[in-house]
């Protein structure tokens, strides 16, 4: 019997695995997708090759790209953009690592305390999570992002709006700043040359400003896996969990099994309580396996975790499993400029505006196909031809809706003269936005496919207000930065930040997890991915908070079921770029 089985190796699972492997526990990680062991040779920077949502190497599907992806039943205009595999959706994330705003935690008594989703607060105070933030920020590590051309223009616009420059981790007022990113700062020749011969490690260190965060980070070329610039978990926590014996005095390397789909969480009755006892999973050869463990951690993501819960017929007495899905109700605003914006160069997002109580705005850089995708994705119909039942106005932009034809050609006449702003809304937990199982799609390896319902045109009044406020600010920012024209996309749900579908909460009436991350109705079963978040954090990107929460959950597991002591705040964290990790990664060929 294992000590702990972790289901999923995305943003959260490897955090639990690394922390508990460092304590010497026997940890098994089961991942449905592939492991990219040699990304310098397995990946390219080409957008369709990487990011085609159905056929790219970064998709929700098996590693064999000739096979059908794992589809989701989407009964509305929308798309859930996640990645299966070791690293999960952090494979294509931008590494943005802001902390949640304090107003989404219980006990907050600021003057703006009523501005947040006060019905669905975290069941502990912000100060409680602070030390876990610090631990994760040191481990990844999180660093202040550098400036490039697009950041200079974006922040020029933000400053012109009169927003102050934030130079602290905690966000308390509307402000602008360089991102705190899980991306190593440029060093050596990185960011100083475009000559590929001079961009190899160790002459180049950290971010080479290649412009390909969304296509996966395998640079600088020649760097050991844990020294690649972006701290997606495949480059940070996974190497650490696999080498725990090398850098932790009592560490024991975790075991990773990939291309293996968990089909059931196994339980048994212990003294009248449903108790997790292991998992059943199926490998590529079709063979069924069972592994037993003292603790099971569900970390398959905000769509797959509730799906697996439901597929396992686990208790759901308040019917909140899968409910309360938040997604930051995103939108995108594009500016077209007469100057070079550097839109296709540099990290994906190095600058942001925070608007506590409403959400925020991020500068996002993309190569041309993703820009085209963004400009053609809308809930407001084709610009100039109709509204498709859209429910918003242009928020002050010159154009609204899906750009096609001459409009698209003109906007993308130069991919380096656009600037994109991502609107990330502080959206409400709503029970009608949820994950269930589909009877429309054919079952896949995991059984009945997930059905993701987002009632996007009927979001709560506060959510709609917040989105319009942030979008209008983004339009103003573009104009203040000097845009010649501004376009509002009005995205339908583009679910890049899937959160809170297995939420922890203060009340057993509308949450699945208690304040430690343990399931209310299944002992020894914990959840440690974005689905565990109590709410949408007030708008900040979810990964850092999920990782801080997963660290806290790891301590709860260790204390409760293995008789151990907490370590965060008592020990010094080991960074994932520590020389001991690097040496072990090289020695083990990771």
């Amino acid at each position: 019997m294992r000590d702990v089985i972790v289901i999923g190796s995305g943003g959260g699972g490897p955090v639990v695995a690394k922390e508990l492997a460092a304590r010497g526990l026997d940890v098994l990680v089961v991942e449905a997708g592939p492991r990219f062991a040699d990304p310098e040779n397995e990946w390219t920077h080409f957008e369709d090759d990487a990011n085609n949502p159905l056929t790219g190497f970064f998709r929700q599907g098996p590693g064999d790209r000739s096979r059908t992806p794992w589809l989701r039943d989407l009964p509305q205009n929308s798309y859930v953009w996640q990645v299966a595999g070791v690293g999960g959706t952090t494979l294509h994330y931008f590494g943005n690592s802001p902390r949640a705003v304090p107003g989404v935690f219980v006990g907050y008594d600021g003057a703006d305390r009523n501005m947040y989703d006060t019905d669905h607060l975290f069941p502990f105070g912000y100060d409680e999570l602070r030390r876990y933030y610090e631990w994760v920020e040191a481990t990844l590590p999180v660093q202040t992002a550098p400036m490039g051309t697009k950041e200079r223009i974006f922040l020029r616009g933000a400053a012109a709006l009169g927003l102050p420059h934030q130079t602290t981790h905690d966000t308390t007022v509307a402000s602008h700043r360089a991102q705190q990113n899980a991306v190593l700062q440029p060093g050596g020749t990185a960011g100083r040359t475009r000559d590929p011969q001079r961009l190899r490690h160790p002459e180049a260190r950290g971010c080479t400003m290649c412009g390909h965060c969304y296509q996966g980070c395998y640079l600088p070329a020649g760097a050991p896996r844990n020294l690649k610039a972006k701290r997606s978990t495949d480059n940070s926590y996974v190497p650490m969990m696999l080498t725990a014996e090398a850098w932790s005095p009592h560490g024991r390397a975790a075991t990773l099994v990939t291309d293996a789909t968990v089909t059931q969480v196994l339980t048994e009755d212990v003294h009248g309580e449903t108790t997790a006892r292991g998992v059943r999973f199926r490998t590529l050869d079709g063979e069924e396996h069972e592994e037993r463990a003292q603790v099971v951690v569900l970390a398959a993501g905000a769509i797959e975790s509730p799906r697996l819960w439901l597929a396992s017929d686990l208790p759901n007495p308040n019917d909140w499993v899968g409910r309360g899905l938040t997604d930051h109700h995103m939108d995108a605003v594009f500016g077209v400029f007469d100057e070079d914006t550097g839109q296709t160069r540099g990290a994906g997002s190095n600058a942001r505006v925070d608007l506590p109580g409403y959400g925020g705005i991020e500068q996002v850089g993309m190569p041309p196909a993703l820009q085209a995708y963004s400009l053609a994705f809308s809930d407001s119909g084709i610009h100039g031809y109709g509204r498709a039942g859209g429910v918003v106005d242009d928020a002050g932009a010159d154009t609204l809706g899906r750009l096609v034809g001459r409009d698209l050609l003109a906007t993308l006449d130069d991919a380096n003269r656009t600037l994109a702003a991502l609107v990330i809304t502080d959206d409400d937990v709503e029970p009608g936005n949820r994950v269930t199982r589909s009877t429309m799609l054919l079952p896949d390896e995991g059984g009945l496919a997930p059905k993701v319902t987002m009632r996007h045109r009927r979001r709560s009044e506060r959510t709609r207000r917040n989105r319009e406020y942030c979008t209008r600010k983004a339009v103003e920012l573009m104009r203040a930065a000097g845009a010649r024209s501004v376009h509002r996309c009005d995205w339908p749900p583009l679910i890049l930040h899937a959160q809170s579908s297995m939420r922890m909460g203060t009340s057993g009436n509308d949450s699945v997890l208690d304040a430690t991350g343990e399931a209310r109705w299944v002992k020894r079963l914990f959840v440690a991915d974005n689905s565990a978040l109590a709410n949408s954090l007030g708008g900040p990107n979810p990964t850092l908070t999920t990782q801080a929460l997963a660290t806290r959950t790891s301590e709860a597991i260790f204390r409760t079921y293995f008789g151990g002591d907490a370590w965060v705040g008592r020990e010094d964290p080991v960074s994932s770029v520590d020389d001991r990790v690097t040496a072990a990664v090289i020695a083990q060929g990771l």
């Binding site: 190569p367 031809y385 006449d413």
Partner: protein, 226 residues
């Protein structure tokens, strides 16, 4: 435009479109085609012509589809053989199960997409059954193509079904394909075979291992404290 109160968009017209589309699905319009890149088999929907018609609609160029729709340029646009093949492959993966039921021929993937947009193309203009291309959609002018998508976007029969997702994905994935590398890419060797046309349209410098883009830290702040 295109709502239920639009005189052009009535149930009767929809049913007429369905009938016309049934003919289209049987490949009858192939008899009239003069410029189709790929002639469909008699019993198959005209997938390639439809996909090219969509690509030309989203990213016009100097191809026959763009010229026929009345919105064209003097450069290669989205409607290339390789982009069309790639987009069909994507649609086949996006909807591997039949989407439209018996009335739509129980077709999956790109064939279902073709059937869907052609069904509404005939609804918008029954005359689209006759034209230079096998696909009614490709025979429409640009404005009429836009109306097809407005009808698809507002079709109440699609509410609460995956068709709403599919409808939205059609122009979105077409835009993605047109500006990606697929127009000049060897998918087996995963290398470029030339400069992708979409890159030319967007003046994209191309992929790189890095740029001399570093401009210091905002206001000199390279780290923050608690």
């Amino acid at each position: 435009m295109g709502g239920d109160d639009d005189p052009v968009w009535t149930r009767r017209r929809f049913l007429a479109g369905m009938a016309g589309t049934a003919a289209a699905l049987m490949g009858i319009t192939a008899l009239f085609s003069a410029e189709a890149i790929a002639r469909p088999a008699a019993a198959a929907p005209p997938v390639r012509d439809t996909i090219c018609g969509i690509l030309a609609f989203v990213v016009p160029g100097n191809d026959p589809y763009s010229r026929h729709q009345g919105v064209s340029t003097d450069r290669v646009g989205g409607a290339t053989e390789d982009a069309a093949a790639s987009l069909e492959h994507t649609f086949d993966h996006a909807s591997p199960v039949p989407l439209l039921g018996r009335a739509g021929g129980n077709l999956p993937g790109a064939a279902a997409v073709a059937a869907l947009v052609n069904m509404y193309a005939v609804t918008v203009d029954a005359g689209s059954l006759v034209g230079p291309f096998a696909a009614p959609f490709a025979n429409l002018n640009h404005d009429a193509k836009a109306r097809v998508f407005e009808l698809l976007d507002t079709e109440p029969q699609f509410d609460g079904t995956m068709l709403t997702y599919v409808v939205n994905a059609i122009p979105t994935l077409a835009a993605f394909a047109a500006y990606s590398e697929v127009s000049a890419f060897d998918p087996d060797r995963r290398v470029l075979t030339g400069r992708p046309f979409g890159w030319e349209l967007a003046r994209y410098d191309g992929v790189a291992d890095g740029w001399d883009e570093f401009a210091g830290y905002y206001r000199g702040v390279d780290r923050i404290e608690e």
